[in-house]
């Protein structure tokens, strides 16, 4: 099968990679660019574990074809982590014990960043509405919602 060359920007750096035409962005990130912080939970857009930002907009990377990111900006959990220390959301997730197994955590943090970027002081109802595309099976969401609210309150 012939491969396509894709030129994009991933986490602020130019990324040129090869992919099959049917390949998802999720697989290109994980298997080609080796950015395994983006997780695969369902591959059909129902769990949010593969959440990334595409030109700043929250998407499920399992529902984006890799060739679609030609010329576009992708931000993953790896790109959200600052050079020193942690992103405030990462810090609040830790301090609020907002993770148990941790597999959904990168997706929740990316989705929460997308929320706070457009609504820096959301209500609990707004947090719950925005994060409804991300499944967590461990926490019952209580501490996740609190971590996001705490991040907003501290900003």
């Amino acid at each position: 099968m012939s491969h396509l060359v894709v030129n994009s920007t991933v986490n602020g750096e130019p990324a040129e990679f090869l992919c099959e035409p049917h390949e998802t962005l999720l697989h290109a990130l994980r298997d080609t660019l080796l950015l395994t912080g983006t997780k695969e939970g369902c591959s059909n857009g129902n769990c949010g574990a593969c959440s990334v930002l595409l030109d700043g907009v929250l998407v499920n990377s399992c529902l984006v074809l890799a060739p679609e990111v030609e010329g576009r900006q992708v931000t993953t959990i790896e790109g959200l982590t600052p050079r020193e220390g942690l992103h405030p959301l990462q810090q609040q997730f830790l301090e609020n014990a907002a993770l148990q197994c941790g597999i959904c955590t990168p997706g929740f943090i990316v989705a929460s960043k997308a929320l706070l970027d457009r609504n820096p002081h959301p209500t609990e109802a707004e947090v719950r509405h925005f994060l409804a595309g991300n499944l967590c099976r461990c926490t019952g969401y209580d501490k996740i919602v609190r971590a996001v609210l705490a991040t907003a309150a501290a900003a």
Binding site: T36, C42, N46, F93, A97, C101, L131, A132, R137, K143
Partner: protein, 760 residues
């Protein structure tokens, strides 16, 4: 429990040791493993719920460029019946072998038939689709009534009923019928003023962990087999692979990755032996197999659908005089539903003098049931706590009051035998009774929106089991703590905290790590709510031994006897005369006798049992049948909370899973046994929008058998939710929901039926 009453570490809320790895995405889970030259596996699964496999022709698959190996059930050695403990019940290894690759018969939709390894995932998937299987389709058995009917066609020619301990003579889908008896049931009902007898049904549900199963295996020419996988128990994977493939355990090293949830569903193997066989046939190249979500739902987990009949007798003043239970659980394709555990849970909170419980383990053409958090407990308590609510209403007694009146206490004998040690059930009831949630009035709603409040309690056994660990004191004063218990929800930190408390150092000086099966002594799986209890106890003992040794070293440095040296606040002191900081003693270990390395292993007992009482307010839209959870409070005897945040997290997460089971989750099969909702859109687990904050009330009745009073906390919170919600729906609408899940469609049908004028 130790008489130490002031704790420095236990009860605090430190950031977990593996936290940064997990919030930055650097933590490596099952599917993140990548070995040089690895191949990718794919599984061909049965498109029929029940079919004889007449032939398998893999020639077209093998001819596809890039395909390196193909395996089928014929590649598995025949093995005899042998039962192995998983930490969540026992498993027959012969059946486990048949489950990971079918033998002569496909027993459920999605049953693994053959597997392929190829140079890319795309080629592997294409090759699997090229394998031609000739099936003789057989009628599927998809419900308990059909499976148990006299003359029903048996799934297995070699499964007979174990009838009250006696083996039957003819094949049957009832693998076991057991009975627990206590007192005189007829006399108990004769003494009752009120009798309530009801029948409940519950659907098949899945554990729903977000991480699909993944395993990577490399089987070298020297016979050494390495397996990376996300598992609740690396040692269990080692022994199961050893038995299924006929390989000595000394040839197998299992390297556990981080695990993305399990809830019991990752205590036994699925892919590991298959990836190993593919690797051996491919000349020892590593083979990675990862399930997709459809495979996870179709062929792993789930927990049993059930039918449960409960009959209670009570006196006018609310004393339970008798209880009779009939419970049948679907085991799926192989024996081993959690009906045994369910029978221990169902009446456990109450001191009832006269009891009979009959349990049935029943085969059908659905995936083999696996453990799911307090296995068998949620559906059992849904039935018994719904019926108890009816008793309370018939007698006009407050639901917490009737539970209080009949509560089991230290010394009460359960119907299944054991006598309770010190337990905190009454304390959970008191905490619920006095909680502002229970004492505040409920606003009843208006129009089509009806509000109600419900209460239910629950029990779980907990498990102790075997743990091992070792610790090395480093020259900088940190301690490397090596353990073999899968950390599925923060247990590294809960264990490190107990170690730090025992030794007397800050928890951030402990470096816990979970290692492979060659690098630490045996550990049972993380299951049965045992890890913080058992592995915590092991590291307590290690901490005590290191403390003793450090005091001896400090005594040398202080030129005195160990008996003269105390260790407090990081300082070794010889009375007022002289002292030396911990860091100095650690730095000078080489000069005082060499490194300090301590290992310890224990078969723990005295795990203590867990009780919980939940309160829920619901709003039912009687025009749509939809139920919203308005407020949720969970009280639980947690023994002694080591890290309160993670204890709360277990309670909140367990309650959320119970709410999903109660309201939405169920497997939907067509008449041919095809699973129609094998995806997370239609297998509907709770989202952020479906839940309110869940208030966890930690009731601490320390377990007297554990040095720090620990009880397992992880499982019992999933037991009460379905009963509590059913009782709240009745309170809101006057309609009793007799089947789980209480989904909008089912609720609406029940509401409409109740509103219809009685015919005739």
């Amino acid at each position: 429990m130790s008489d130490q009453t002031v704790f420095k570490v236990i009860g605090t809320r430190p950031v977990r040791h593996d936290g940064v790895d997990k919030v930055t995405g650097r933590a490596l889970y099952g599917a993140d493993v990548r070995m040089n030259g690895q191949l990718y596996g794919a599984m061909l699964r049965s498109p029929h719920a029940h079919a004889r496999i007449l032939s398998i022709d893999a020639s077209a698959a093998e001819a596809l460029p890039g395909v390196k190996s193909v395996v089928t059930g014929a590649d598995l050695p025949a093995i005899a019946d042998k039962f192995a403990a998983t930490g969540e019940g026992a498993i027959n290894l012969r059946h486990l072998s048949g489950n990971i690759l079918a033998g002569r018969t496909a027993l459920y939709w999605g049953h693994a038939i053959a597997a392929v390894a190829a140079t890319t995932q795309t080629i592997a998937d294409q090759a699997a689709a090229l394998i031609r299987v000739e099936y003789e389709v057989l009628p599927p058995i998809l419900d308990l009534a059909t499976a148990m009917a006299p003359g029903a066609a048996p799934l297995h020619p070699d499964v007979v009923t174990n009838e009250l301990g006696e083996k039957g003579k003819t094949p049957s889908n009832v693998a076991e019928h057991f009975r627990h008896e206590k007192g005189d049931i007829a006399a108990g009902f004769a003494a009752a003023d009120v009798i309530i007898e009801r029948e409940y049904k519950t659907g098949t549900v899945h554990q729903g962990y977000i991480e699909p199963h993944s395993a990577t295996a490399q089987w070298n020419a020297d016979g050494q087999l390495i397996i990376y996988c996300a598992t609740q128990g690396a040692f269990g994977v080692r022994s199961e692979v050893s038995e299924i493939l006929g390989v000595p355990i000394s040839h197998i090293k299992v390297i556990p990755t981080e695990i993305g949830g399990g809830f019991g569903g990752k205590v036994s193997v699925y892919l590991e032996p298959v990836a190993a066989l593919l690797s051996r046939k491919a000349g020892g190249r590593a083979v990675k197999m990862t399930m997709n979500r459809t495979e996870v739902l179709a062929a792993t987990g789930p927990t049993s659908a059930s039918i449960i009949k409960v009959k209670y007798g009570a006196t006018r003043d609310g004393r339970l005089t008798a209880a009779q239970v009939w419970m049948a659980y679907e085991a799926g394709a192989y024996p081993g539903s959690p009906v045994g555990a369910g029978s221990g849970v169902i009446l456990a909170p109450y001191d009832i003098p006269n009891v009979v419980i009959d349990g049935y383990d029943v085969l059908c053409n659905k995936p083999k049931a696996n453990a799911y958090r307090a296995p068998g407990g949620t559906n059992a308590a849904y039935a018994s706590e719904s019926a108890l609510d009816e008793v309370a209403r018939a007698l006009n007694i407050d639901p917490i009051e009737i539970r209080m009146k009949n509560a089991a206490k230290e010394g009460t004998r359960r119907a299944d035998g054991p006598i309770f040690p010190r337990i905190g059930f009454v304390e959970t009831l008191e905490a619920a009774q006095h909680h502002p949630h229970y004492t505040s009035p409920l606003e009843r709603g208006s129009g089509p929106r009806r509000r109600g409040r419900g209460v239910a309690s629950g029990f779980w056994f907990n498990f102790g089991g075997t743990s091992s660990a070792s610790a090395t004191v480093n020259p900088d004063g940190t301690v490397s703590l090596t353990e073999g218990s899968t950390d599925i929800g923060g247990s590294r930190t809960g264990i490190a905290m107990q170690f730090a408390e025992s030794l007397g150092i800050p928890v951030d000086q402990v470096k816990p790590q979970v290692v492979d099966t060659d690098s630490v002594g045996y550990n049972d799986a993380t299951g049965g709510s045992r890890t913080t209890f058992a592995t915590g106890w092991v590291v307590y003992e290690i901490g005590q031994k290191i403390r003793t040794e450090l005091i001896a070293r400090a005594a040398k440095m202080l030129e005195t006897e160990p008996g003269q040296v105390s260790f407090e606040n990081g300082v070794f002191s010889n009375g007022a005369m002289n002292n030396i900081p911990y860091a100095q003693v650690a730095a000078d270990l080489d000069k005082t006798g060499g490194p300090i390395v301590v290992s310890h292993s224990m078969r723990t007992k005295g795990e203590g049992t867990a009780f919980a009482t939940h309160i829920v307010d619901v709003e039912v839209d009687i025009e749509t049948g939809k139920v919203d959870i308005l407020r949720y409070t969970a009280t639980q005897d947690v023994g002694h909370a080591i890290h309160p945040s993670y204890v709360e997290g277990q309670i909140q997460g367990g309650a959320a899973q119970g709410i999903g089971w109660a309201l939405n989750e169920e497997y939907v099969y067509d008449k041919n046994g095809k699973l129609l909702n094998a995806g997370l859109l239609d297998y509907r687990m709770p989202t952020t929008l479906d839940l309110p904050m869940i208030e966890a009330v930690l009731v601490e009745v320390p377990n007297p058998k554990h040095p720090y009073g620990v009880r397992g906390v992880g499982e019992v919170p999933i037991v009460p939710p379905a009963g509590a919600i059913a009782n709240a729906i009745f309170d809101a609408t006057g309609v009793r929901m007799m089947e789980l899940p209480m989904s909008p469609a089912r609720n609406l049908a029940a509401l409409v039926a109740a509103a219809a004028p009685a015919s005739g």
